[in-house]
């Protein structure tokens, strides 16, 4: 039995927390607000410490709020973050995604900065500026930077923000022991997909879509313990999913993992979603980190990292790489399926397609196919955006909307 237009557009017969208006995935206006009210206010993973192991090593990072950043390790071994903008004529200071720079020198006019953000050289400065402007007036804009939770480097462009520790709270508690050793990134790639960043995070927030993954159905859904895994929500929109023993050898060509991970039971799998778009996915022998960087309402760049232990010997590392590639990476069985799914959502929910509602209505006592993970996310989204995701046209506080 199909529906007509009126029926298609009618609100679902569910609580307003159990569905969202699809304009939250397509509206340019809401996207700009999200950049201002969410991404420019929260802690975001910029890179991993293993990507900048030596003094003066740097990485560049496109912040989801729009800012381009430099993450650089100083002579004092402290990691700092700055806008990647020359204060002189606004050029990009560092063009490459990584490198080593004792002095960061702009290619345009050779203005030079040290890893603490001080301007150390203005060619012919006195001749041009006399006493009117000096090096002290044109230092780099520094943003908050902290290291934590597995050696990740976090940034926050809000100078008044809470600390990283307060922001995370106990959301990563399930991984306390697992994140204690020194970790190392062994694979990195980006995927740019024409879809909204929240659709990717939604996919990481629910396991009902294991129907899409043959690998997960065989090794997980059909195995004992799968339906016992539970979601737990934390302050600020974070959520975790507890472990089960994955039966990897149920999939032809895949073997039970010989290499494990500290603090994780054999065959174990823990997933933790951090608001607004990062996911720790520790699956037996590999830690995968997803970081969503929205480029527009219908375009997201997702950074994918695979990590092992810095102490791995060659054989252990080789096994982690093989395990990672079975299901993840650009040719893995699962990741392509997940990206295909959100790609399809992006096509179906573009502005003008007359899409209307996305349902987050499953209730199963917070177990693995419950959609509580997404409801928890949109509760925090609504708090920060001053509106319900089910009715984004009506802000809670009209004066703030004005």
């Amino acid at each position: 039995m199909s529906r007509n237009s009126t029926q298609w557009h009618a609100k679902p017969n569910l609580p307003e927390t159990h569905y969202v208006d699809t304009s939250v995935y397509t509206s340019e206006e809401l996207f700009r607000e999200e950049q201002e009210k969410i991404f420019n206010k929260v802690w975001i993973i910029a890179c991993h410490e293993s990507e900048i192991p030596n003094k003066f090593d740097y990485r560049t990072f496109h912040h989801p709020g729009g800012e381009n950043l430099i993450i650089i390790r100083g002579e004092d071994d402290k990691v700092r973050a700055f806008y990647n903008i020359c204060p002189h004529r606004g050029n990009t200071i560092l063009y490459d995604p990584s490198g080593n720079a004792k002095r960061m020198t702009c290619i345009f006019h050779s203005w030079s900065f040290d890893p603490q953000g001080s301007c150390v050289e203005i060619p012919r400065g006195k001749e041009g500026y006399q006493e009117r402007l000096g090096k002290a007036d044109v230092c780099l804009r520094e943003v908050k930077c902290d290291r934590g939770y597995g050696g990740f480097i976090w940034v926050n462009v809000d100078d008044e923000s809470m600390s990283l520790q307060e922001y995370i709270g106990d959301a990563l508690g399930l991984l306390d022991e697992s994140l204690a050793p020194e970790l190392e990134v062994f694979t990195y790639h980006k995927a740019i997909v024409n879809t909204n960043y929240k659709l990717w995070h939604d996919t990481n927030s629910e396991f009902y879509h294991d129907y899409m993954h043959y690998f997960n159905r065989i090794t997980g859904m059909m195995q004992p313990g799968y339906f016992d895994r539970k979601y737990t929500g934390y302050k600020y929109g974070h959520a975790s999913v507890g472990s089960m023993e994955v039966k990897y050898d149920a999939y032809e060509g895949s073997a039970q993992r010989g290499v494990g991970w500290p603090g994780l039971a054999p065959g174990g799998w823990i997933l933790i979603d951090l608001f607004p778009g990062m996911t720790y996915n520790l699956r037996t022998s590999v830690l995968r980190m997803d970081t969503s960087i929205p480029l527009g309402p219908n375009k997201v760049m997702i950074e994918f990292r695979g990590l092992g232990l810095k102490s791995d010997n060659a054989d252990e590392r080789a096994e982690r790489v093989r395990d990672h590639n079975t299901i993840w990476g650009p040719f893995g069985r699962n990741l392509h399926e997940d990206l295909l799914g959100v790609h399809g959502q992006g096509i179906a929910m573009r502005e003008g397609t007359d899409s209307k509602w996305v349902i987050h209505g499953r209730e199963e006592n917070n177990t693995i196919h419950d959609e509580i993970g997404m409801r928890h996310f949109y509760a925090e989204w609504g708090r920060r955006m001053n509106r319900m995701a089910s009715e984004p046209q009506k802000p809670f506080n009209k004066s703030e909307a004005a």
Binding site: Y188, H189, Y214, E252, N325, P330, F331, R333
Partner: protein, 153 residues
Amino acid sequence: MTPREQVESVIYRSCMTLDAADFDGYINLCDDDYHYRISAYSPEIRKDMIWLEHDKDGMSTLFKQLPRHNSDKSPLSRHATIYSVEFADGDKEANVVSFLQVFKTALDGGTTELYAVGKMYDKVKLNGKGATLVNREVKLDTRQLGIGHHVPF
């Protein structure tokens, strides 16, 4: 066929069979000791990365499992240009370097885009009747592959 022609034939047929999803045909081009790898260098983390690695049985299993998975059905077109062939062991082996371009064509509308470029480093065995692939490493320059792909390049 001359030894050079045998080498060219196996390289180009490896592209044609994958394009046609003739996976048995591809496997028949491979030596029993076949080893396949896709790799790339990341300027972001400044490391060489391995993205896919299988022996002959592993490749056979990968192809066999494909129908069970959800995959992008856009056909790929692989174009190889052989850059160099170095014979060894009295023309019984050859090391081959080829430039690889992979194009993707949308099923809906037929727009073709360049999907990936890189080089193939092959070791080929010649037995007088023809050539087989012993070892292939596809070193990709392209690292942004959108939603990814299930079928090896």
